[in-house]
């Protein structure tokens, strides 16, 4: 019954069930009292509490704050009215996505060194190619005319 009342204040009760709920409340005095409490909690949560004292509001909010917090990442969902089931598919998807995120981060970190910004090649410079050619010819040429030049050397 309490759940029905709670659903009502959470606007989750459809029109057909409202009549049934009102009927039950009129018959059962205890449930009628419970309805009042839920009404009060709903007003406090929706800041619609002009008719009650601030002290009472503070006490109610304190009680709500003391309720244990449950983190539900969407893996636990109600299967039936009073039971919860663990959604393994969602959990596996979450774990897989997390591993992918960690893996991608690791791959980028390991394959991108500090010189990443400078590793974009630029076109082979004319002066570099000249020096390479001179150095290559200084030891390998068959043409004496190249070899007789004394103007180039590789230095340490």
């Amino acid at each position: 019954m309490s759940e029905k009342i709670s659903e009502f204040f959470d606007h989750q009760t459809n029109a057909n069930k409202i009549d049934s709920l009102v009927g039950d409340l009129t018959k059962n005095k205890k449930e009628k009292e419970a309805f009042k409490y839920y009404q009060l909690i709903s007003d406090v949560l929706h800041h619609d509490h002009g008719f009650i004292s601030d002290h009472a509001v503070d006490k109610i909010m304190q009680k709500i704050d003391q309720e244990p917090i449950q983190f539900n990442n969407g893996f636990i969902r109600p299967a039936m009215q009073n039971t919860l089931t663990f959604d393994f598919k969602k959990y596996a998807l979450y774990v897989f996505a997390s591993l992918m995120l960690v893996g991608t981060t690791w791959f980028i970190a390991t394959n991108t060194n500090d010189s990443a910004s400078s590793s974009v090649p630029v076109f082979l410079a004319e002066e570099i190619s000249e020096q390479l050619l001179n150095d290559h010819n200084s030891t390998t040429t068959t043409n004496p005319n190249f070899f007789i030049q004394a103007n180039y050397q590789a230095d340490i």
């Binding site: 400078s118 090649p121 000249e130 068959t142 004394a150 590789a154």
Partner: protein
């Protein structure tokens, strides 16, 4: 009977062809010996890509199994080169001073067959052309045809009398002249006199000795050659600092028996931009690429494709 004659004819022609090819290669071997053993003096001319003709005077003598070579520039800046076996000293006049530099080389024309003849056989087919006259000497044309697309054609004219190479041209598959060196004049020396083997330039002049680069060969290699190098074999490995690059570079020199390729390798530091691309310069091809944090640059008178394949064989 006809079939037997046919088989005999096939066998005879096949044997004759193999014998002829073997005989041609023995001519190449004789050419190798002739460049080392004979004493000769001549004018050598080479034509560069701009069709400029450079003229040098070359003297070669073999004395007590030591090779002495002197090469002098005939025109332009005065320069001379004294080569004892593979140790070269260059004397180059600049104003009132003389620059002196030491280098290493043992394959200057006409001594082009310094490598392994078997390696050349693996990479080239040899054929014979027709006779002609080079430097007033009767010469026979030999053509070294590459067995694949990774190298160029070598045309060689050998002296009919003693097999000394008188002319060399290197031609690309698209008929472009890559190298052209030949004797314009030549005479064979009988004298054992070695008085000519001294520099003229240093007389009464101050000189600057360009310190030879202290190339270190003990630096650990940064690379491994993990794939086929298409008939090219390593002949030398050097570690040196390249002036323009300002980095410690490693040079791997490869040869296919006739041609040489250098691959330069150095790591790319944080503030350096790697080079990439390909360029042709003085009939040589040069490529640069960035691989696994290293800069690779290859140089040689070979097709770009060869340089690419050789750099692909380098891994870290």
């Amino acid at each position: 009977m006809v079939i037997r004659f046919f088989y005999f004819l096939v066998f005879f022609l096949g044997t004759a062809q193999v014998y002829a090819a073997t005989d041609l290669w023995s001519d190449i071997n004789d050419a190798k010996l002739a460049t080392q053993k004979l004493n000769y003096q001549g004018i050598v001319q080479s034509v560069n890509e701009k069709q400029d003709i450079n003229v040098l005077k070359l003297t070669h003598a073999n004395f007590q199994n030591q090779e002495y070579v002197k090469i002098e520039k005939v025109e332009g800046d005065k320069a001379e080169l004294l080569l004892l076996n593979s140790d070269a000293t260059i004397y180059q006049e600049q104003d009132d001073r003389v620059l002196i530099q030491k280098k290493q080389n043992n394959h200057l024309f006409p001594n082009i067959f310094t490598g392994d003849l078997e390696q050349i056989k693996q990479n080239y087919n040899l054929s014979q052309g027709s006779e002609t006259f080079i430097a007033n000497r009767k010469a026979m044309l030999y053509v070294l045809n590459p067995k694949d697309n990774y190298r160029y054609f070598y045309h060689l004219w050998l002296d009919v009398e003693n097999n000394l190479p008188l002319k060399l041209t290197v031609v690309s598959p698209d008929k472009k002249l890559v190298e052209n060196i030949s004797f314009a004049e030549i005479q064979f020396l009988q004298s054992k006199d070695l008085n000519w083997f001294r520099p003229k330039s240093v007389n009464n002049k101050s000189y600057d000795l360009i310190e030879s680069s202290q190339v270190s060969q003990i630096a650990p290699r940064l690379f491994k050659v993990t794939k086929s190098t298409f008939g090219f074999k390593e002949v030398e490995y050097l570690a040196k600092r390249m002036p323009g690059l300002n980095v410690q570079s490693q040079q791997l020199i490869l040869t296919d028996g006739l041609n040489y390729v250098s691959i330069y390798i150095h790591p790319i530091s944080r503030n350096q931009k790697p080079q990439s691309g390909q360029i042709q310069k003085n009939n040589s091809n040069i490529i640069a690429l960035y691989k696994d944090g290293y800069q690779l640059m290859a140089v040689g008178k070979v097709p770009f494709e060869t340089l690419e394949m050789l750099t692909e064989a380098i891994n870290f």
